[in-house]
Structures are given as structure tokens and as C-alpha cells.
């Protein structure tokens, strides 16, 4: 319900087009049940073309988004100088600081200069701590990535199979129970869920550490201990989405003729569901995951605040609260790149999972 991945994305509309991609063998009806439906080829011309096209679309988007951020930050009432020096600053000191920050130059100059530096990995200095922004990002990004990665792992290992099970028993008691549970999972805000988990597992039961972060390199076991609750509080909500979406996608697929054929041929139900149906539903599911990953990186803003994790989201929230504009600018650009990369990877994965969509 939260993500509307209707089958169109996964290829319902194109499903029946009888134009197999070059070099791809697909014709499930003719295959014996056990043979692989198709071979996975990463560097076929189709895929390369797709990558090139997506990159060609992504670059202007990234530039436009970075211009947007640049403009926005310069729209701050009074500009960053007032934010740094306070409202009582003299005109002379504001002018001096603006000059020092390069804010008195023409906008296009500033942007091109910034872009030139950014491409080389220099995103400027934090206004508050004087640290290089790229350094802050390099320090904090792995924390967020670990958090999102673990939450994602949870949704794949737990929520995905649950969604498939729900689809198999559509409208049965299990299904209804799961639907209610996932409805709840969608509605409970993740920060509230996080607090509940902290109260139950951390404070009441003393099972897990509540707050803080231990670098993986320092103590892997303790690092994971500290990551369980944060990733769980993100993964449960995301899992609810996965359950619903996978259920819907699988129900669509299970009603298709090729599944009926597979069943009629006497294949074990397990093979039919987990192998043939799931594979057909895979493009849709991958698209859901693309949206989910982006959403999770957004959610790190709040979850990292709750658990006091020194991640990218925390850096951004602190930057916004302390009006550290260079930091905000740099971190935001990283988020934009992250989204574009995730989208690209998902597009490639979808193309690999369903060759007939490649040319769409």
C-alpha cells in the first residue's frame, strides 16, 4: 500500500510481447522443468546500452539537483554569514566573511568553482568544525551504509519469504494475520518503534546496548550488538512494505498461465512458487527494493538521531541544526548521487532479471 509497484513496472504490459532479446533463450513452455530459463549475462550489448542511457539521464539530473541545492542555500535569509556571525554582526564583518567564503562573487562563478572542486572530491570545509566535508562524509557514510545494509538483509531474509507465504495462502488465516501485522508495521513511525525496542530490549531486558556506536574495525561483535536495534527498527517498517508488495506481485504471477502449466506438469509446488513464480515477480520486487533503499537512507536521519549513531543522516541533521551550510551542501549532494546510483543498479538488475524489458 505504501509503494504502488503495480505490475506494469515489472512488465505486465510488456509480458506478452513476443520479441525475445537477442541471444536470450526464453520460452518456458518448451523447456523441461529443470533447465535454467535463461543465462545471466552482465555485459551483453543490451545491458551496456541501458547503462549508458541511464547514466546520460542521471548526469543532468545530478547537475540540476546540485544547482538546486546551491541556489537554496544562497536563499537563506541573510545568507550563511549571518548564520555564522549572528544577527548583531556588523556590515563590515559580514562583507569580510562573505568575501572569505567567496559568496560575493557572481553565482555562476561560485557554482563552477564549487563543481570543479567537487569533482575532485573537495567539498569545502565545515563552517563549524573546519573539518573537510569530504572527510566527514568518508567517516559517516559507512555507518549509514551498515545500518541500511543490515535492515535490508532483514527484509530479504525475513520479509520476502513471509510475503511469498502470504501470497500462497491468500485470504487464509495466516494471510489475514500477516496483513494486519504489516498494516501496523506501516503505521508505526520508525522513531517510535525504535524507542519501544530500546525500552524493551535495552532498558527492561538488558539484552542489547541501547545507544552509541562501536566501529566495526575496533570490535566487530560489539559493533553488531549496537547495530541490531537500529537496523531492526528500520527493517520492521520496511519489512511491512516488502511483505505487502511481494504478496501483491506474487499473487499476480501465481494467476498466470505459465504457473498453471508448471503445476499441470506435476512440478512440486515448492519449485513452482520459489523458482518460477518468484523469478517472474523478481523485476517488480527489485523495483520495490530500489524505492525502499532510497527511503531507508532518508530514514537514517531519524534513526541515527535516536540511537546516536555517527552516520550520514546524523551529520546532515546536525549540519541543518547548526546552520553549517557547506556541510549540508556536501552531504546532500552525496545523497543525490546515492539515489542515482541505486536507481541505476536497480535498472540493471531489473534488466538482468527480465530480458524482455531491456528494450523498453
Amino acid at each position: 500500500m505504501t509503494v504502488q509497484a503495480q505490475p506494469a513496472a515489472g512488465g505486465r504490459g510488456v509480458e506478452r510481447s513476443d520479441a525475445p532479446s537477442p541471444g536470450v533463450h526464453r520460452d518456458p513452455d518448451r523447456e523441461s522443468g529443470q533447465a535454467p530459463i535463461r543465462s545471466w549475462r552482465l555485459f551483453s550489448p543490451d545491458i551496456l546500452r541501458l547503462i549508458l542511457r541511464r547514466v546520460a539521464i542521471a548526469i543532468p539530473t545530478a547537475v540540476l539537483a546540485s544547482i538546486g541545492i546551491f541556489v537554496l542555500i544562497r536563499l537563506v535569509p541573510g545568507g550563511p554569514a549571518i548564520a555564522i556571525l549572528g544577527v548583531h554582526a556588523t556590515k563590515a564583518s559580514i562583507a569580510a566573511l562573505n568575501h572569505q567564503l567567496g559568496l560575493d562573487r557572481p553565482f555562476v562563478d561560485q557554482y563552477l568553482h564549487w563543481l570543479g572542486q567537487a569533482v575532485q572530491g573537495n567539498l569545502g570545509q565545515s563552517l563549524q568544525t573546519q573539518q573537510a566535508v569530504s572527510h566527514v562524509i568518508a567517516e559517516s557514510f559507512p555507518v549509514s551504509a551498515e545500518l541500511v545494509g543490515l535492515a535490508l538483509l532483514f527484509t530479504v531474509v525475513v520479509a520476502l519469504p513471509v510475503g511469498v507465504t502470504a501470497a500462497r495462502r491468500a485470504d487464509g488465516r495466516t494471510d489475514r494475520l500477516l496483513r494486519t501485522a504489516s498494516g501496523l508495521g506501516l503505521a508505526i513511525p520508525d522513531f517510535f518503534l525504535a524507542i519501544i525496542l530500546i525500552a524493551v530490549f535495552g532498558i527492561a531486558a538488558h539484552l542489547l546496548p541501547e545507544l552509541g556506536f562501536v566501529p566495526f574495525g575496533q570490535n566487530p561483535a560489539s559493533n553488531l550488538d549496537h547495530m541490531i536495534l537500529p537496523s531492526l527498527s528500520m527493517g520492521l517498517g520496511a519489512g511491512a512494505i516488502v511483505v505487502r508488495q511481494v504478496r501483491a506481485a506474487m499473487m499476480d504471477v501465481l494467476a498466470e498461465p505459465h504457473i498453471r502449466t508448471a503445476r499441470a506438469m506435476g512440478l512440486p509446488e515448492r519449485t513452482v512458487v520459489w523458482r518460477y513464480a518468484l523469478r517472474t515477480a523478481l523485476p517488480t520486487i527489485l523495483n520495490v527494493y530500489g524505492l525502499l533503499i532510497v527511503g531507508m537512507f532518508g530514514a537514517t536521519l531519524i534513526i541515527e538521531e535516536v540511537f546516536v549513531l555517527p552516520g550520514l543522516g546524523n551529520a546532515l541533521v546536525n549540519g541543518v541544526q547548526q546552520r553549517d551550510y557547506t556541510l549540508v551542501q556536501g552531504v546532500t549532494i552525496v545523497y543525490v548521487l546515492l539515489v542515482l546510483v541505486v536507481n541505476l543498479l536497480v535498472d540493471i538488475a531489473v534488466a538482468l532479471a527480465s530480458p524482455r524489458l531491456t528494450e523498453q
Binding site: T2, V3, I196, A299, I302
Partner: protein, 311 residues
């Protein structure tokens, strides 16, 4: 064909329960009619809205008057839900907090619609140049994780309920624009639009009287679902200290305060968090029902749904 019939449906009347004559869509009978859950959702939501609107009248106490001698008190006749860390009446704070929650959500939806609907209308009607420029802009906005954009824009506008929920509306706008555009692109090819155009209908009238209502259905459904999401985001932004500014009451802000002192009195976190969850649950439920009622097939284009899963 499905898209056609559904668009017709939504165009003709939002309230009418006539189903799209679409044999391909699997009927979900349980969702289509007024179920118990649906009635409960509407009643709860309307009740909470009424209680929030009437907060100045029915709240037993001022939401910000402190009584430091009575901190973290349990429920009593004087304070039905007890008092918080500063000795303020919890029930009164929740009621007043509901005001800002409902207000903020409506504000964000209004901003999103006011920006997004004309955006999509223009982009759909003049798809070549204006459309591609406008949609590029939408792509750029959708390249941010929604919460990141909301937080950054709030940081620039300055924290507060109005600024934070306005920026949430800005996040919603490109999604509405996309849905609107898809609808307009579909509808503008239909006969009634053609005949209106042939009979010399002015562009403005064509856009506002013919295309707008016909393409608005999916946007309305999306807005309902975004309404639920907006409650979560409002709570989240207030939780981060970017929304409603303390000591003014808000569910998210009260949750943050209760969380800060969770070791002193863990029970305080329950009420504000649970209220958000209940409101969101009811709103989603209504959105779901609306969607299945209209048998809408909202086309997924990547990113169009991205902001739906931001928290």
C-alpha cells in the same frame, strides 16, 4: 483499457460506488464496501480531529503551564493521563499537539496540491517543451531522499510547523505533478476533449473544466496516502526539533522529550507515539479503501512513489 475506464470512473464521481467494468482487475470485495475497520477508522480520525480542533475548549489544563512539584505524576482525577517531566498536563498537551499535527498535515497536502496539480496539468497538456522541462525539474526533486529534502528545506526556511510542513508539501508536489501529468496525457486523447476543442473551447476552460477533474482521481488517492505519511513526517521533524518548537506541544516533540527522560519514566513515550500510529493507521486505511473503490491503476514510474516510503 483499464486505465481508461478507471479514469472515467474517477472523473464521473468520487462518491459513486459503481465499479469499473474491467474484467481484468481482480475484485477485492472486502475492501470495496464499508467494512467495520473502515467505519472505525473514519470515526477515530474524525473524533481525534474534533478533539484537536476543540482543544482550547475541552483541554482540562493549559498545555504549557508547568508545575514542577508534580513531575511525571501518574494518572489522577486532576490529570487524567498524568503529567510530564515539567509537570504539565499530558492530556492537554496531546490535544493541543493534535491541532498542530492535523494543521501541519493539511498544510503539507495543500502546498503539495497547489504546486503539483498545475505543474502536472501544464506538463501534460504541453508535453513537448514545457512538459519535458517541468518533468526534468520533478526528476531533480525526486533525486533527493524525501526526508533529506524536507530537512534541508526546513533548515533553510527556519524550523517551525509552517515552514517544516511547507517543505514537506514541496516534497510531495513532484509526485502529484507526475500523477497529474500521466492522467492528463491519457485523457487529452479522448473524444470529449477533442470535441470540446473543436467546439472552440478556450484553453483555460479546457484545462480547468475538462482535464483537471478527469485526471484528478489518482492525485486524490495519493493525497490520502500522503496524508498518513505526513503525520509520520510531522512527528519525525518535530522529534528532530525542526518542526513545532518546544515548549509548544506536538506529538513528535513530546515523544522526544519523553525519550530524553525515558529512564525516569518510561511510560511517557507511549501516548504520543501511539497517537501518531493510530492516526496514520486510520488514514492509510481510508486511502486503501479509496483506491480499491476507484479501482485505480496508478502507474508506477520510479520515483513517483519514492517519497511514500521515506520513514
Amino acid at each position: 483499457m483499464s486505465a481508461r475506464s478507471t479514469l472515467m470512473d474517477s472523473a464521473s464521481d468520487l462518491k459513486v460506488g459503481e465499479r469499473a467494468t474491467n474484467k481484468l482487475s481482480r475484485p477485492r470485495h472486502r475492501d470495496r464496501h464499508w467494512s467495520v475497520g473502515m467505519i472505525v477508522s473514519v470515526v477515530v480520525l474524525v473524533g481525534l480531529l474534533a478533539a484537536s480542533v476543540l482543544a482550547p475548549v475541552i483541554a482540562p489544563d493549559s498545555p504549557i503551564s508547568q508545575n514542577l512539584l508534580q513531575r511525571n505524576a501518574g494518572p489522577s482525577l486532576q490529570h487524567l493521563l498524568g503529567t510530564d517531566y515539567y509537570g504539565r498536563d499530558v492530556l492537554s498537551r496531546l490535544l493541543w499537539g493534535g491541532r498542530s499535527a492535523f494543521l501541519g498535515v493539511l498544510l503539507s497536502l495543500a502546498v503539495g496540491m497547489v504546486l503539483g496539480v498545475p505543474w502536472g496539468l501544464v506538463a501534460g497538456y504541453w508535453p513537448r517543451i514545457a512538459g519535458s522541462i517541468l518533468m526534468r525539474l520533478a526528476d531533480a526533486l525526486l533525486a533527493f531522499p524525501a526526508l533529506v529534502l524536507a530537512v534541508v528545506v526546513t533548515g533553510i526556511l527556519g524550523p517551525g510547523l509552517v515552514t517544516s510542513m511547507t517543505s514537506v508539501g514541496i516534497v510531495f508536489a513532484p509526485v502529484f505533478a507526475r500523477l497529474m501529468r500521466v492522467g492528463v496525457l491519457e485523457v487529452r486523447e479522448r473524444e470529449f476533449v477533442l470535441s470540446a476543442r473543436l467546439s472552440g473551447c478556450k484553453t483555460r476552460v479546457l484545462l480547468l473544466r475538462h482535464l483537471l477533474p478527469a485526471a484528478l482521481g489518482p492525485v486524490v488517492v495519493q493525497a490520502t496516502i500522503f496524508g498518513g505519511l505526513a503525520f509520520i513526517v510531522e512527528g519525525g521533524l518535530s522529534f528532530l526539533g525542526l518542526g513545532v518548537q518546544p515548549p509548544a506541544p506536538s506529538w513528535g516533540g513530546d515523544l522526544a522529550l519523553a525519550y530524553q527522560y525515558i529512564l525516569n519514566s518510561p511510560g511517557q513515550v507511549v501516548a504520543p507515539g501511539a497517537l501518531i500510529a493510530v492516526v496514520v493507521l486510520c488514514t492509510y486505511r481510508i486511502g486503501d479503501w479509496l483506491r480499491s473503490r476507484l479501482t485505480l491503476q496508478i502507474r508506477p514510474s520510479r520515483g513517483a512513489e519514492a517519497p511514500e516510503i521515506i520513514t
